[in-house]
């Protein structure tokens, strides 16, 4: 099974880290993975996105033309990816920064007030992990545990103290996703 996701938001929202982590976890589980970043034209700031594919077999194109899953951290990203989504695909949205509803009715939508959830967890910067946790719980490209392990190899040195809150964010996201799926 090939599972691809597009993660998209402002530069600085941790889009790349989330994507890399997912790819790293996939690799750790012995799967085929690709991680393709793409930056907007602006030097700094601007919108950034990445395409991550985790698969049991070789991956041809690393580009996801029409996503089955998208993690959307800001409004421009929703505007961009909503029309491209495959039918029945899932969009996971950072509700705090996306002040509109999804117009399509043939896709699944999970809105998370991630900015506030993150504040509750004690670190504004873990929005990306909350959304990633939710995605992984729903689509199961990798195990949450593997993600957590992967975190350790990314957050080293002075950043090691952030491991714990990031782990909790992943779990929180997963929990929200379970609720969501239960509701559905």
């Amino acid at each position: 099974m090939e599972k691809g996701v597009v993660i998209s938001g402002f530069g600085g929202q941790g889009v790349m880290l989330a994507g890399e982590l997912l790819a790293e976890a996939g690799k750790e589980e012995g799967k085929y993975v690709t991680f393709l970043p793409s930056y907007g034209p602006e030097m700094r700031g601007g919108t950034a996105n990445c395409h991550v594919i985790v698969s049991d077999t070789t991956i041809a194109s690393p580009i996801i033309g029409y996503p089955k899953a998208a993690i959307v951290l800001n409004l421009p990203s929703l505007d961009k990816y909503e029309p491209l989504m495959k039918k029945d695909g899932i969009i996971i949205i950072n509700k705090t920064l996306v002040p509109r509803e999804v117009k399509r009715d043939d896709v699944r939508v999970l809105q998370i007030d991630a900015q506030h959830v993150a504040e509750d967890l004690g670190n504004k910067k873990v929005v990306n992990m909350i959304l990633l946790g939710a995605y992984v719980e729903i689509e199961k490209p990798v195990k949450i545990e593997t993600l957590k392990n992967a975190l350790k190899s990314y957050l080293t040195g002075r950043k090691a103290e952030l491991i714990e809150v990031n782990e909790r964010a992943l779990e929180k996201g997963a929990e929200i996703a379970r609720d969501f799926m239960g509701v559905k």
């Binding site: 890399e20 690709t34 991680f35 393709l36 041809a60 194109s61 690393p62 033309g65």
Partner: protein, 353 residues
């Protein structure tokens, strides 16, 4: 081989080059491949090897030329505009018969263009953007793993034929991360200064002179024949390509690098619809795998070439097909990467015919 690492293509290239025995890097920064020199700048000093940021691409290639004349494994990496500045150097290196490796992470052109992935330097790389009748071996990987693997081959081929080897990639293959497993380190302690190298005569009976000229046309023609013989050998022995689902194919896509990879998805999509397409992917762009294309011309109904340019490899495909079957084309320009779906749509336009 060791553990799998998740790495950017542009860094995997540097790491693979280092493991393959690159003893010196000379280069000048340019997007989209700055990670490559930056990686070298960290690793080479650790290993007691040479990293030098040159004042320009013109200087960089001439530093490589100097190092190559000592028989040392040397490399430079750049992107399209920088590569254009190296053309005189390439031509000198070719006619001096010295080995080196050059990576071109192609970006959108012409001119300043943009920093998006492109394949519009195919002609420049394969037909010789510099002056005179010369060729380099040109290799086009399509995955990060292949980028890593082919760096080893690049240095081997360079030394074997005393020739420049160009590794032609693009920003997508450079920015993308994939798990990669590196081949074993080449034991650089075993490297010996070759007999022909210019490092000072030392104990040699003769002094060495490495030049790219002969004031007499008769002499220069002989030098050219040496080159042509070498190229003939290379065309004979070093052609590499991948055939993908060609066995039962009614149609052949031809594509290299990034686009070849996307085309594999196109082929999945098509086969889901019952259209049997295969892919012929040249891995060496020079020497070009003309035989396999020529042979397949009897099996397929037509060829469909697709590139991120206005149709460059297309000419080599046509030369190989030589009129036996139609050759169609789809290309995107200026750094636009086509999608698998788009390629399929374009392909289908020719099915009526």
């Amino acid at each position: 081989m060791g553990e799998k690492l998740l790495m950017k293509g542009s860094e995997a290239i540097a790491e693979a080059a280092i493991r393959a025995g690159a003893m010196a890097f000379f280069g000048y920064p340019i997007t989209p491949q700055n990670e490559t020199p930056e990686y070298f700048s960290r690793r080479m000093p650790e290993l007691g090897r040479v990293f030098l940021q040159a004042e320009s691409e013109v200087a960089a290639i001439n530093m490589v030329y100097g190092a190559a004349c000592t028989g040392t494994r040397a490399i430079t990496t750049s992107s399209s505009p920088g590569i254009s500045l190296m053309q005189e150097g390439f031509s000198y290196i070719a006619n001096t018969n010295v080995p080196c490796v050059v990576v071109n992470a192609m970006r959108g052109g012409p001119g300043l263009g943009d920093i998006a992935p492109a394949q519009a330097d195919y002609f420049q790389a394969t037909k010789g953007g510099g002056h005179g009748d010369y060729h380099s071996i040109v290799i086009a990987p399509h995955t990060v793993q292949e980028e890593a693997d082919l760096m080893f081959d690049a240095f081997e081929l360079a030394d074997k034929y005393r020739i420049m080897v160009v590794v032609l990639v693009d920003g997508l293959l450079g920015q993308m991360m994939e798990p990669v497993e590196f081949k074993d380190w080449v034991d650089v302690k075993k490297f010996k200064t070759p007999e022909w190298a210019t490092v000072g005569q030392g104990d040699r009976a003769q002094r060495n002179i490495l030049i790219s000229f002969d004031i007499l046309a008769e002499g220069l023609e002989k030098m050219n024949l040496v080159l042509q013989n070498k190229y003939a050998k290379i065309r004979e022995n070093e052609v590499r390509f991948e055939e993908y689902k060609m066995d039962d194919a009614d149609y052949a896509i031809t594509a290299f690098g990034t686009v070849a990879r996307i085309a594999k998805t196109t082929i999945e999509l098509a086969r889901n619809e019952g259209i049997k397409i295969g892919l012929i992917r040249p891995i060496t762009l020079y020497p070009f795998p003309e035989k396999v294309i020529e042979n397949r011309a009897s099996n397929v109904k037509f060829f469909f070439d697709t590139e991120m340019n206005e149709g460059q490899m297309l000419e080599d495909v046509k030369l190989a097909v030589n009129g036996k079957k139609p050759v169609y084309f789809h290309g995107r320009l200026g750094g636009i990467v086509p999608t698998a779906e788009e390629i399929l749509d374009e392909f289908k336009k020719h099915l009526g015919g």
